[in-house]
């Protein structure tokens, strides 16, 4: 039986290649992502192990990682002396680390800005004894340890980028204190490497580092060495006894593992997000495989019936087809693993070229990667082939041998409608439950949404043959107008087997649905932002950190003070943004939600107008305003007490005085500026809104403000038009990124078109020979095939765009709480740029048609090159 299968595979080599290719690409992407992230993870693991090599015990504040990064608290420096006094402790090395300083190059530009990893501030103190190193992380490669306010050290990569050597004067920009100059006394490396993941390190002695971070007398933690002969585990309890509640003491090894686990959490998002596109590709591929097997089984029904007539049982026929599927799946999966390694190597070479250097070990291929990759390829091929295989095994021997046409379509159509609608409603229920229902403690809503979308795809796949006729008629009619006879033949061919055309179109549909969903979401976000910026922001100019930053990025308060002194400025309002946690009423500890929050000034409402207001917008000391979503989550109404947890001061109670909604409204939680400074520990601004005096235009004001902030290359002054342009380009970047990842799925969907067309051309050999004999030339023959591919692809695109718009609408309704107020269907390009055009649905409709032509080049050529007499003689 294996021999029959092997011969079956060999007899249809194109099918083998294309089916295996679909599996190969999907499995390749999944395993490539696994291999690459495993490699990075191993690299980080090694770094942490080495970083804690000389640390017996590490003290740190307890880190709780939440969706927005969690709150890490600073500890009192006084702990150092207390711990040092404990019996068995030999030395304590305190360290502090944070962000808030940029290094400027000789042109005054920020080094390593943009997409790159952040720049950190930390302390680098001279070792107190010869046999101890300060922090195992750094080693001083050149020069001396920085001492006092005027001295600093840098990592070698940053020093090289700025062209600094020991003794250079370096300009730095503090988010607290503004621009200043320091003398470079030392350059550090990391276990021999110039950089660690591309991060920048600005190093001072402990006191200076504390001041730079605005955390006088605070530390992030400490490394401890115990006396010779002491057992680490015996010293830890006595250290813990002096620590505050939210700090921990761990052995160096445990600390390394904990740090590695944090990285793992951060990386796993990356893994899940990227490999999702691999699974999408496989899902699309499964339709290709299903369709291929369906066509081949029907082409071979006579051969299979002959096997039955010769005494093969229906189970044997089933196994023959499934065995073929398994062979192809296995070949695709094995090659996919190889492709995965190639993808991992490609990312590994591409990222450093983009300025992102991550620690790496040798390529790490875990057994899990191999198992998941092989199983995915094999299982998906088998699942996709099972329906065609069952159909083959149930073939009626005599009717197949006689080549009878199928029975009446009416009864089958009714069954199809009932099944399709049932499946659709199930999918819709899952989708709506995920979007609007209360999932409680079950799986996250994303799971329901994903399952719902997948099931709706299957329902569409079941139902689509019913509408294949009218839709292909419309598309085909347009093509026939345009191209004449090849268009007419193409349309008729596309309609001769609605099942086949629909199954082929389904694979295109899925990828185009996701493209249309991405376009609709970004289009709607763009619409919302434009709506907000033009209607709800009434400032003439805003000053904010430039580039892509998280909203908590801040700058020195001196900037706003200087701006307020300008004659041209009528009024301004400062805003501080950071993270807090909001206690959900009466809920368990896990019910704390991380949220953006801000310190606001009473006049903010004159610059940024919320869409809905209840109560006041001017919180005084001890008062808080919430957005409607958080107010609902916390179960509070005006006059109630709201508990917030801050990084520095822990839990504090506020009285709710206002509920304001709308994305223009700064942050989601607002308290008085003085309360914010008291609880956050430092005074910094995140944004400044400015209004010009009467008679001065926004552009004029912007020019003056730009001069004023010239010393701060990390700040930008923007008019409302500038903000719109920036939002546009950021959204385009996001869309392009998603489209790049979806390209693979689109490609596999189109490969399905190639496959169907190749098999159809083969099936219609005699007919093509006849057409050639009665005078169809090669050109027309080619166009007949290409246009059919085009019609089927565009049929898929029509379904996909329809579904994409529907999913987009549902998602936006679900995300209304986040302030997405506009639902916009981006039929036309938003601008005549490549990005603008890529976001347009009509573009994708036509692009799919053109892709259909392109992907049918090979089958079209085969059709055109047939020898006429051989084709006519073909049966």
């Amino acid at each position: 039986m294996l021999r029959v299968s092997l011969k079956g595979v060999w007899a249809h080599k194109i099918r083998l290649v294309l089916t295996a290719l679909a599996i190969l690409l999907g499995v390749g992407l999944i395993t490539g992502v696994y291999i690459y992230t495993d490699t990075i993870r191993k690299g980080f693991d090694q770094i942490f192990v080495e970083a804690y090599a000389n640390t017996d015990i590490a003290i740190s504040s307890e880190t709780e990682t939440g969706p927005v990064g969690g709150l890490e608290r600073y500890l009192d420096e006084g702990l150092v002396a207390e711990v040092d006094a404990i019996e068995g402790v030999a030395q304590v090395f305190p360290f502090i680390q944070g962000q808030g300083v940029d290094v400027l190059d000789n042109e005054g530009e920020v080094i390593g800005s943009g997409f790159g990893p952040p720049t950190f501030v930390a302390n680098l103190d001279a070792p107190k004894s010869i046999d101890a190193v300060n922090r195992d992380w750094f080693e001083l490669a050149e020069g001396t340890y920085p001492m006092g306010w005027d001295e600093m050290a840098l990592d070698r990569a940053t020093a090289n980028l700025g062209g600094f050597t020991v003794g250079s004067t370096v300009s730095i920009l503090s988010n607290l204190l503004g621009p200043m100059e320091k003398t470079l006394t030392g350059v550090v490396t990391f276990r021999g490497d110039d950089t660690i993941g591309g991060t920048g390190w600005v190093l001072f002695d402990l006191a200076t580092a504390q001041e730079m971070l605005g955390r006088q007398d605070k530390i992030s933690g400490a490394s401890i060495q115990v006396d010779a002969g002491m057992v680490v585990d015996e010293v830890i309890p006595s250290i813990e006894s002096v620590l505050p509640e939210d700090a921990v003491a761990r052995s160096g090894q445990d600390a390394a593992e904990a740090d590695a686990a944090d990285i793992q959490t951060a990386l796993s998002f990356f893994t899940v997000f990227l490999s999702a596109f691999g699974w999408i590709a496989l899902f699309v591929g499964s339709f290709l495989i299903y369709n291929t097997f369906r066509i081949v089984v029907s082409q071979r029904s006579r051969e299979l019936a002959l096997l039955r007539a010769l005494g093969a049982s229906s189970r044997q026929v089933l196994s023959i087809v499934l065995l073929e599927a398994a062979l192809i799946g296995a070949i695709g999966a094995v090659l996919g693993l190889g492709f995965g390694v190639a993808i991992a190597l490609l990312i590994q070479t591409a990222l450093p070229a983009l300025g992102i250097e991550l620690p790496e070990a040798g390529l790490t291929i875990l057994p899990r990667t191999v198992i998941v990759g092989l199983a995915a390829g094999l299982v998906i091929t088998l699942l996709s082939a099972i329906i065609p295989a069952r159909r083959a095994s149930k073939v009626e021997v005599m009717s197949a041998l006689r080549d009878d046409p199928a029975g009446p379509a009416g009864a089958r159509n009714l069954r199809r409608i009932i099944t399709g609608l049932t499946v659709f409603l199930l999918g819709l229920a899952a989708l709506l439950f995920g979007l609007f229902g209360d999932t409680g403690s079950g799986p996250s809503p994303v799971v329901y949404v994903g399952i719902g979308i997948g099931v709706i795809f299957i329902a569409m796949f079941i139902l689509s043959p019913l509408i294949a006729q009218p839709v292909t008629n419309i598309i085909g009619w347009a093509l026939e107008r345009f191209s004449g006879i090849p268009g007419r033949l193409a349309r008729r061919n596309a309609q001769r087997s609605p099942d086949r055309s629909a199954a082929t179109a389904a694979a295109v549909m899925i990828s185009i649905t996701l493209v249309a969903l991405a376009a609709t979401l970004t289009g709607s976000i763009r619409g919302t932002i434009n709506d907000i910026i033009s209607n709800d922001v009434v400032a003439d100019v805003t000053v904010q950190p430039s580039g892509l930053n998280d909203p908590t990025t801040s700058f020195a308060p001196v900037v706003a003070r200087n701006l307020a002194d300008l004659d041209i400025v009528e009024d301004l309002s400062r805003l501080q943004i950071g993270f807090v946690r909001l206690l959900v009423d009466g809920g368990p500890e896990e019910a704390w939600t991380d949220s953006f929050a801000g310190g606001v000034e009473p006049n903010l409402a004159e610059f940024a107008i919320p869409e809905s207001v209840e109560g006041t917008l001017k919180p005084e000391s001890g008062e808080v305003i919430l957005d409607p979503a958080n107010a609902e989550a916390a179960g509070v109404s005006i006059g109630d007490t709201v508990v917030l947890e801050f990084q520095e001061t822990g839990r504090q109670s506020f009285t709710l005085v206002g509920i304001a909604g709308g994305a223009a409204w700064a942050g989601t939680i607002g308290i008085a500026r003085d309360d914010w400074i008291a609880n956050y520990g430092v005074e910094q601004d995140s944004a400044v809104y400015i209004k010009a005096v009467d008679g001065v235009s926004a552009e004029e004001l912007k020019a003056v403000v730009e001069q004023e902030i010239a010393e701060y290359p990390n700040l930008a002054a923007n008019t409302i038009e500038d903000l719109q342009t920036q939002a546009e380009s950021q959204l385009n970047g996001l869309l392009n990124f998603i489209l790049a990842l979806l390209a693979l799925a689109v490609g596999i969907g189109m490969l399905g078109v190639t496959n169907t067309m190749a098999l159809s051309v083969f099936e219609r050999t005699r007919e093509i020979g006849l057409l050639r004999a009665v005078g169809m030339n090669r050109r027309t023959t080619r166009w007949m095939v290409r246009l059919e591919a085009s019609i089927v692809s565009m049929f898929g695109a029509v379904l996909g765009i329809g579904l994409g718009i529907f999913f987009g609408w549902a998602l936006i309704r679900a995300l209304e709480d986040l302030g997405l107020s506009v639902f916009l269907i981006p039929w036309l390009p938003s601008s005549l740029t490549i990005s603008g055009v890529l976001g347009s649905l009509l573009f994708w409709l036509f692009a799919t048609g053109i892709l259909g032509v392109a992907f049918a080049v090979y089958p079209a050529r085969r059709a055109a090159r047939m020898k006429v007499i051989e084709a006519i003689a073909h049966l």
Binding site: G484, R488, L489, Q495, E767, L770, A773, V774, G775
Partner: protein
Amino acid sequence: MSGPAARAEGVTKVYGWGDTRVTALDNLSIEFDQGVFTAVMGPSGSGKSTLMHCMAGLDSVTNGSVFIGDMELSNLNDRQLTKLRREQIGFIFQAFNLVPTLTARENITLPLDLAGSKVDHSWFDSVVEVLGLEDRLKHRPTELSGGQQQRVAAARAMVSRPELIFADEPSGNLDSRSSTDLLTFLQQAVQDHAQTIVMVTHDATAAGYADSVVFLSDGKVVDTMDGPTPERVLDRLKSLEY
């Protein structure tokens, strides 16, 4: 009449190499006169189908020349051959003559549509009327009987007024009634419109409708017969086969 509608001069056609080498046509010369219904007969493997394919520009010859009118086919490229086939030659095959996705009307006008030329409606109507296809024009081939299908194919061959029509066993799959209808029509087309028809057949009854019969054997013309009757053709065939 001005010269033959088609002729072959010293045509040799060889398939394969070495041991599998087969000479299908062996230095064969023949003329098909205008306005004449010629039947080409011979036993299996005599080269009659190969001759038709070569004459129609569907296959190339190894040696010699083939002319349709004054046009020598070996000088033509694929595009010119295609144009020749749709403008000057009509085909009727034994079976699978029609494109299943097109209606009868569309099948009939296919060569004209491919050429982008206008349909001569009065000619179309008279051909359709003679063949009795008026009320079948909107049907697809699967909705037509075998005889109707072959008559649609005949109409397609006629509608572009070709120089000549090649028919390859046109009645081979038909019952005797349908077969008679079709052959009578072909005969009439020759009589009424001076149409040139070359029909390959091994059926003596069919050959009886032709004006003349050419007998092939081993790739050579071995005999011709004018004004054939089925009985005379059968007798001649017996002597050829043994």
